[in-house]
Amino acid sequence: MLLAVQDRTTFRSTSRTVHVYATVQGEDGRLVADLTRDDFRVYEDGRERPLTVFDNTPQAITVALMFDMSNSMARYLDRIRQAGNAFVAALGAGDRVRIGSFGQEVAISPLLTGDRSVLARILDEELWPGGPTPLWYATDLAMTSLEGESGRRVVLLFTDGEDSGLLVPGKLAETRRHAERGGFMIYAVGVPRRSLADELRSLAEDSGGGHFLVPSEDDLASTFARVVDELHRQYVLGFASDLTDGKSHRIDVKVSRPGAKVRARKNFMAAEGVIR
């Protein structure tokens, strides 16, 4: 299904407004896309804050799609390409993707594009299996590659393992801080029948992203398409914050619909100094 996606929403960067992207699922696990502003409550360090931004129309997405190409992933190469192409096929107008990989090297395409032929070319030519799993370093670089973009910024990782850090040192704590500071959403998809590392799941949950287990190899492509669908159906929320201590603060998002569960980032980094 091709969603009609609005042109990119540009938020003027006032450090007072904290943006939160929320995914809501019903008891049956299906996405709930018909909530209104009044259905949401947002709390900053436990204090309810009035919503100053609300949008429930499909939003264009900006994604760094990162494939783990470590030794153990070599057997999935064809499936990885299929999954990547399924992801690309599910993109809507205005969506942009940057494809990268990590293993023998961490390589991220300089092209951030919605052009399907270019993305298909990169999937075909630029995935090389082999090497260790510099997971945190790769995640960090992927976020850096989206640093200059506005709006919702997503890193989607397809990986089978835990960080091995053999080639280049990367630290989970730094990656976590980077995600919080930049408001990046982290998504992770694991290989079939294998659970993701606890640290990665935790990072994804705290960022407001998500993680997916894949029952079988045949489900890879549909899982990637599902991630795109979820990203398109997120709610854009925002509240005004007057915190200026440069520290991490808690965010809680609740919805009034019975049985519905909401996923959103759990922390944000307050502005530092005087807000003008």
Partner: protein, 208 residues
């Protein structure tokens, strides 16, 4: 008649002027080439530059570039071996990142467009191409149209089965009139010398 034959014979005895070459050496310094599991290989650019310098003859010009996180290629042509070695040594710290192989070849060929001597590109790589702005088909087309031979010196540090990293490079070498040599790391210097000699002699061959 006898005089004419004598003149022709004497002309044959004169040493043949070796054609000058104008060469760009591009060295892959991506993670996959320069980072080992134990330590970084920071000697590749130095070794490659020294090998090219040793292959130069009076009248030749050369430049040394690298590709990894960025593509680095000085615009000024170097005319002596010491300058080539020095230029290579100045690049030894620029290691790591992806492998924009096609972009690097396109940049190298573009840098040679205004050359008058026998022009060629020598590229040292493990064949993995990532983080390119230019796709392979587009790069192949541009390289072919430039009519500048590409001499590939390829080595693969990986001990794992990967899609044939050399297939596309062989196509480029054939299409441009260059050569493609597959070597082990210690043989890279010799392969660069062979590539320079092939450029000077206008040879085209692919050997594994």
């Amino acid at each position: 008649m006898t005089t004419l034959l004598l003149c022709a014979w004497l002309a044959g005895l004169q040493p043949q002027a070796r054609p000058a070459i104008d060469v760009v050496l591009m060295v892959d310094v991506s993670h996959s080439v320069t980072y080992g599991a134990i330590k970084r290989d920071r000697t590749l650019v130095h070794d490659a530059g020294a090998a090219l310098a040793a292959s130069l003859a009076p009248g030749d010009t050369a430049r040394v570039g690298t590709f990894g996180d960025t593509i680095t290629l000085e615009t000024a042509r170097l005319t002596d071996a010491a300058a080539v070695r020095s230029a290579a040594d100045a690049l030894t710290d620029k290691v790591g990142g992806g492998s924009p192989l096609w972009d690097a070849l396109v940049a190298a060929v573009a840098a040679l467009e205004d050359g008058k001597a026998r022009r060629g590109v020598v590229v040292i790589t493990d064949g993995r191409s990532t983080a390119n702005r230019t796709g392979f088909a587009d790069a192949l087309d541009r390289l072919e149209r430039a009519r500048i031979p590409v001499y590939v010196v390829m080595f693969d540090k990986s001990d794992h089965a990967i899609p044939d990293p050399g297939a596309r490079l062989v196509r480029i070498a054939k299409a441009t009139g260059g050569t493609c040599l597959f070597v082990e790391r210690p043989a890279i210097a010799g392969a660069i010398a062979r590539a320079a000699a092939a450029l000077r002699d206008g040879l085209s061959a692919t050997a594994r």
